[in-house]
Symmetry: C2
Subunit: 612 residues, 2 copies
């Protein structure tokens, strides 16, 4: 058996299902309904080899197209020979997911840094040229190029280095400047996605374009507020506080670089190029750019266009002469991370009507219609990340990540299979959908106090997911009426954004040919749940695509290829940003988009859909 | 009366000589012979107005050509009406000399930094461009230029600055980069000559090209050795020691910038451009470039060519986005300061055979023949700066700066007229010449123990300049036999350098049409003395020209004009450096050049000249 993209191979017991095989090999595939074939949580795709015929329940759960593509439930498929099986990120339990973020990108490496081998004539009384002058002249003559400067930090090490390497080395050139000398052929690049919550770093071999190390860490600025506005508010108190926030993230990124390098036995100064993406505020805070104007109407970034600066001018400790490239922002609240996501899905060449959405505290949405892009930002708040939710928590051990309610019976899956301690984002979304489907909530989101699972604790109604008894006397884990209201506000903001962009381009939901869901949260949600609660439009399941950390992938693409950097700048430049709060239909739409259930929106009106 | 270039004007008593007028106005013109008309120390040039007819003694002292040009002795000329009088640097006593270093340069300002007035449309919901993008687009559109980047430090201040100035300001542009925003029309530049001993700084108005403040300070690296080799030896001990030497000079230069600015009520960040010159070693130490290879044969600089780097990358605190330009070096021991001197005298367009010499611990010499330049470096040692001389000292209060011996009577002049405490460079050279002329020394430099002024202190012979009695019992100030030997070595090294350069170009001393003496020491020496001791070739007096701090003037020219920077690079590139120690005739010539008196050298042979 061969499970991809996690790259786990091994022999399994015969008569085991694919799910059991995976567990035998140490892969935690989800199984919310307990292998009853009732949910889609264990879905996998058979890439190669033969498995048992689809069961009836699978034929119900998957569309014909999905069946043809090889989608199966892992709990109901039995391998008949050696199989190669694809595990989508949403089928793997959270702690193993970062492994999937290293997905290789199949683009031709076209690095910004070129490496040239040279052998320099040593100086003598008949050739008294300076070391730097000698190096430049030899390089240009040997390789017929027009390099005309050497980074000052490289020059500070040049004379001893040339003598140590006996006047033979590789010269690293960026445009017209020598940014390093190297004795090895290895050229490393570093891409980083600076998220509000999480920072994902990638070490890439610039010769092959392959990712060779990946690591995610928390953004330490979180101590100054979980959301961006709190951090901006803090930063504008004084230059010293702005510098403090900058140093926090810069130091973390330097540590991350160190960890990634030590993983592969490399040194930080082998990193000769870097690409950084992040939302506009984090981008600004990282560079110590002013943010006051970003928080005040009309929310203007200090800079939108792509930026190349010396790594040292940002405090990043990589090769002394290296630059960092920051992908372009789009607007005050649609940042370079979104540009990177657009790049990663080849938005410039997409056909039809494509919606790209990255759900978070701030949700960025782009609509691409015949290659033309409109973008918006929705203040969706932290509910879908577990914030402002009574028993909400981050995706870590013991978090309920999936919920299924069948005939009043509640089933759930926790991360690591640990005893439940709270509910993380995808679980909260499931809860909202399942409570609606079970009739606990009506369309308006009101909790029915008559439902057997609902109880009042005196102050408010709540629906118990894990009771006190199950938790051996500890406080029950429940979903409260006010949690529901928070979630409705969040999902309304997002659905409104989608709708207003559609209307700006004269489209309807049905016109959408693909919805690409990017980002940490969106990648692991149950799309059915998102549709059920009216967060996303009701469209055939095959039109949805969950692409993982698209921002990170886009950053890696820009790291590997100078052409992709131009493409990203081009994408950002031609993206038209719409400030939703200035659209007249905003309030009407927002109110309608708060309802649960399946419906279409049009001109601020809601039309119910009855499924099947 | 109007004394230039010090710019002192005022009414003087009638019947006063020019010398007395100067003293009445607070200018210390030298007067070694005590107004007897016996020496040239008080020479001045009448630029305008009428003075008494030349006396017989003046007609003896000055050549006919000099008389025609208006040269007079200040002690023997009496103004007949309001006169304008030029004071050459060598006629003014040391502490007032720095005033003369601010000589204005008459070249057209052609600054590297251009300033553009703009008015930017403020952002609105219908124009959401980023601040940096908006600024660049407006600038390019308004002025039809192609600026494409903004320095990151400028960007860090851009958003609040644009809002404070209500979107109207001057944009400072260097090539394709915005390096500053300014609300005033003033644009300041900073030029600095980093000497081994002294650092001379100039604040220049880049719009007019005028020098507006000047200051000289000591180079604090002197604590790590008076000569360059000691400092290199120290720097190569460890990177920390190299950094220490760098920081010493960088901090001093920053202090100097601060002082110059506060003199004119400016701020350091109004300085938008800087030019730095210095000898190769000091240039390297300032930039923290490696120096080990500079001290080992074949003495290779880390870089020879001109260099532009961000001021912050050298630790220089001027405008955040500003660059510094370092003029090109010529070789390991002929540095950017010599290039600047060549630039200041317009060496590229000189006619005839021109010798340029900057005397110091290391003496740089260039010979320009029909626009072709050869250069050499002579290890002349510190004797002419007072080093290794028993009673030697720097040019400060109480230093004997001029000596005259007439019929056994010793006359001298001290700086500030203070009681004598030692002998500085020009005094030492005078002593050597006067002792030779008085017969105390023979041609070989041997002190005659029979001469009445010579005494033995038991160990060695010495000639007393100021006796114990004159010093009220303090130790006498004397010139010793070993002082004479040091001076002979120094002057021999220099004369040898001159001779070998002449021979390299197939010239003789008589072919020299002009000897330009540059630098702190050379500017204030008595040229007669230099010729008398055989330090300089015996040529008509009008062929000598003392030009003051030519390196500083060249630095200012490069600061004011981008064309001059190109010219400097061009001058350095076409200068052929000759390593004297590799020339076969070196030793022969060196031995002959040690003799005192008037002679010509040719092919390692010496031919005596009998003057008159």
């Amino acid at each position: 058996m061969d499970f991809e993209p996690v790259g786990r191979r091994g022999q399994c017991n015969s008569d085991s299902s694919v799910l059991e095989c995976a567990h035998q090999l140490g892969i935690n595939i989800k199984s919310v309904c307990g292998s009853q074939g009732k949910c889609r949580s264990c879905k996998v795709k058979i890439l190669d080899g033969k498995v048992s015929e689809p069961t009836l329940s699978e034929k119900e759960i998957f569309s014909e197209k999905e069946c043809d593509q090889g989608w199966r439930l892992a709990c109901k498929s039995y391998p008949l020979n050696d199989c190669k099986i694809y595990l989508p990120p949403e089928s793997i339990t959270a702690p193993q997911r970062t492994q999937t973020e290293g997905l290789e990108i199949n683009i031709l490496p076209e690095p910004v840094i070129n490496s040239y081998k040279i052998a320099v004539n040593p100086p003598s009384f008949s050739d008294l040229r300076g070391d730097a002058d000698r190096l430049l002249e030899t390089l240009n003559l040997t390789h017929n190029i027009s390099c005309n400067k050497i980074d000052i930090d490289v020059m500070r090490d040049l004379s001893p280095k040339l003598r140590t390497c006996n006047w033979k080395c590789n010269v690293l050139v960026r445009k017209d400047e020598i940014i390093g000398l190297s004795l090895s052929d290895r050229k490393l690049g570093f891409a980083v996605d600076l998220g509000t919550t999480k920072i994902a770093g990638y070490l890439v071999d610039l010769n092959s374009g392959k990712t060779i190390a990946t690591k995610g860490i928390m953004n330490p600025q979180i101590g100054y507020g979980e959301d961006i506005i709190s951090r901006i508010t803090h930063a504008i108190q004084s230059p010293a506080e702005a510098a403090r926030l900058k140093n926090l993230v810069v130091n973390s990124v330097n540590d991350l670089v160190g960890d990634l390098c030590s993983n592969i036995g490399a040194k930080a100064d082998e990193i000769v190029d870097a690409v950084i993406v992040g939302n506009t505020a984090i981008h600004h805070l990282f560079l110590n750019l002013p943010v006051k104007q970003l928080a005040e109407s009309p929310f203007i970034p200090a800079i939108i266009n792509a930026l190349d600066i010396k790594a040292r001018d940002a405090g990043l400790q990589i090769a002394p002469g290296a630059f960092i490239h920051l992908l372009p922002n789009i607007a005050g609240f649609v940042g370079a991370d979104h540009t990177a996501a657009l790049l990663s899905i080849d938005a410039g060449n997409s056909e039809g009507v494509v919606l790209v959405i990255d759900i978070g505290t701030n949700t960025e949405i782009s609509l691409i219609v015949n290659g033309k892009i409109v973008s918006a930002s929705c203040a969706s708040g932290p509910a879908f990340e577990g914030g402002h939710i009574k028993y909400g928590m981050r995706a870590s051990g013991g978090a309920i990540e999936d919920i299924l309610i069948t005939n009043g019976e509640i089933q759930y899956q926790t991360i690591d299979g640990a005893a439940p301690v709270g509910i993380c984002g995808s679980g909260i979304l499931d809860a909202l959908a399942q409570l609606y489907l079970a009739g606990v909530l009506d369309k308006s989101g009101r909790m029915s106090k008559d439902h057997p699972g609902v109880r009042s604790n005196g102050k408010y109604l709540e629906f118990v997911i894990v009771s006190e008894e199950e938790r051996n006397g500890q406080e029950a884990i429940a979903v409260t009426q006010s949690d529901i209201r928070e979630l409705q506000l969040a999902k309304s903001a997002i659905r409104t954004g989608i709708q207003l962009l559609l209307e700006a381009k004269g489209c309807t939901e049905n016109d959408i040919t693909q919805i690409i869901i990017a980002g940490a949260f969106g990648s692991y949600i149950n799309v059915d749940s998102a549709v059920t609660v009216g967060l996303l439009p009701c469209l055939p399941v095959e039109r949805f695509k969950q692409v993982g950390n698209a921002a990170g992938i886009g950053a890696k693409m820009a790291l590997i290829s100078s052409g992709k950097r131009l493409e990203a700048q081009n994408l950002a430049s031609r993206t038209h940003y719409i400030e939703l709060s200035t659209v007249p239909a905003f309030m009407h739409t927002f109110v309608q988009a708060g309802y649960l259930g399946l419906y279409r929106l049009s001109g601020g009106k809601r039309m119910e859909i009855n499924k099947e």
